[in-house]
Amino acid sequence: MKRTIDDRRNYGLLPKRNYMLLLLALLAAVIIVSLCLGRYFVSIETVVKVLGSHLLPLEQTWERVEFNIVMNLRLPRILGAALVGSALALSGATYQGIFKNPLVSPDLLGVSAGACVGSAIGILLHVGSLWIQILAFIGGIAAVALTTGIPKLMRRTSAVTLVLAGVIVGGFMNSLIGLMKYLADPETELAEMTYWQLGSLANIKYPDLLSVGPVIIISGSILLAMRWRINILSMGEDEARILGMNIRRERNIAILCATLMTASAVCISGTIGWIGLVIPHLARRLAGADNRRVLPVSCAISAVFLIFIDTIARTLTGAELPLGVLTGFIGAPFFAWIMIRERNDV
């Protein structure tokens, strides 16, 4: 079937149907290649066999160390990257939709910084990882409540005021983090906090995936199920209400899920910038504006993107490169490019 200009406009660069199959195949390929790469190279054949051995009774042709590297070192980290990437992009796309503002993201709304404050408090109080997760979530919710509350107090709800409010809240949260770092024990707590603030996937192990995975998957599924409603919410509060939506309830559910996802991601990876902002824009270029396409596409390409970046982070040099540095180096110019293209391409 020939693609018309209308198709290009409404469905983006991806095909009208079966685009998710395409993206999931890409994701699988990226995961397998990433499993091969590292200081110790493992061949694709071995990787596939090691993975396959969990499903089929394969004859062991690999060395124990290869199995260990693939299954216990690289796989949890790669799955973590996929989980964190999906969580950030999905919550970014959701925030952009419900605040009808393509300039917001978990970091720009201050949610990531808020979650970081929550987990820093947890570290200072020496509570367990479950409580760190809960505190991160409370911090995130507090941040998003503040950020959305400020424009209401100003009685001005333009796209720019929301972004400014996010800058204010993010700045405040970062000061709180600074204060807590100052108070922290430099031997133990400080290192942990700095790690959190810089963002890294290096220490992700299976237990981490088990603790945040279910939260991310459940919240993500709820958001994906609501994705047509997010289209309507993006038309503005009054219109959504006139169209028959219980706007407060549906919007709160969406904010809650998006914030839970961001906070959960922060819990295992710290704050990783740019993804929540850039990926939904890229998804809209690839798939059109309809959130029924944008949300799942954001999820998939964000997982691919973060695995790709993290693979660079751990393989480019002998020492590990900080992830936040790389996402900034790639994300910022990429965002500039997208913005320029969006201007020219209407």
Binding site: R9, W228, N231, I242
Partner: protein
């Protein structure tokens, strides 16, 4: 008397701590009736419409939809009764016109639902009826103001309401499109929809007939059959202008005309 769809009883509204916008407003709307609200800028026409769809809460009085008070209704049940065509419906994101129109199904679809084949069939049928197939795949924000209003009306019809409210549907349109919109509103009423619209042009009231309500600067509303409500001296006072109502033989109707300055 035909079935009463909507009743507004002794409605008053003022913003918190602000002046009273309107008070003691009464109106009723029947099946197939056109109710046109006239009034100067700032008289509270849009505010009244917004209270009818519960975007704003009345300070006093009540609004009944099919005899049920609106304050106890769920959003989706109100939306199944009333659709609203606002002055300017803007979108931040580039949805296609067809997607925009199918959003009218929101009240009929649950929170985790998506429009299915049937919903698209309803939308497509109305797109065809309104003869706007050529817009269907265009982007909503890239079509003209007149086309956007047609899309907005289509979305209202897709909602399958009994009442359609138009807030100054003609204000952003050229003369030809204004008349087209009035003809469309007349047609809707003939199909049984109750229509409430606001306008700045007394001529529109004459063209549409039906019932007219005039909201004056003091926030009071008088209403009655259109012919009876339009009175030369009253209109001149209302708009603080020198207006004449004259019968023009060529068009076989009265017209509201302004004196030369």
């Amino acid at each position: 008397m035909k079935d009463v769809l909507l009743e507004v009883k002794n409605a008053s509204f003022s913003y918190k701590g602000g002046r009273i916008i309107f008070h003691d407003v009464n109106l009723s709307l029947h099946k197939g009736e056109i109710f046109t609200i006239l009034g100067p800028n700032g008289a509270g026409k849009s505010t009244l419409l917004n209270s009818i769809v519960r975007l704003l809460k009345l300070n006093e009085g009540e609004i009944l939809l099919n005899g049920k008070t609106i304050t106890s209704m769920r959003e989706r049940d109100i939306a199944k009764m009333i659709a609203y065509v606002s002055q300017s419906s803007m979108s931040t994101f580039d949805y296609s016109v067809r997607e925009y129109i199918v959003m009218g199904r929101a009240a009929h679809i649950g929170i985790f639902g998506k429009p299915g084949k049937e919903d698209y069939a309803i939308a497509d049928a109305i797109i065809e009826k309104m003869n706007i197939q050529h817009l269907s795949q265009k982007l909503y924000m890239q079509i003209s103001g007149g086309e956007r209003q047609q899309a907005c009306v289509a979305r209202a019809l897709v909602q399958q309401p009994e009442i359609i409210i138009f807030d100054e549907p003609t204000s952003a349109l050229d003369y030809g499109n204004q008349l087209k919109t009035l003809a469309l509103i007349r047609e809707l009423s003939e199909h049984g929809y109750g229509v409430i619209m606001t306008t700045h042009n007394p001529d529109h009231v004459i063209l549409l007939g039906g019932t007219a309500g005039i909201l004056d600067r003091g926030g009071r509303m008088k209403s009655g059959p259109a012919e009876e409500m339009l009175d030369e001296t009253y209109l001149s006072e209302l708009y603080r202008a020198n207006l004449k109502l004259v019968y023009v033989d060529d068009v076989k109707r009265k017209a509201c005309l302004a004196m030369r300055f």
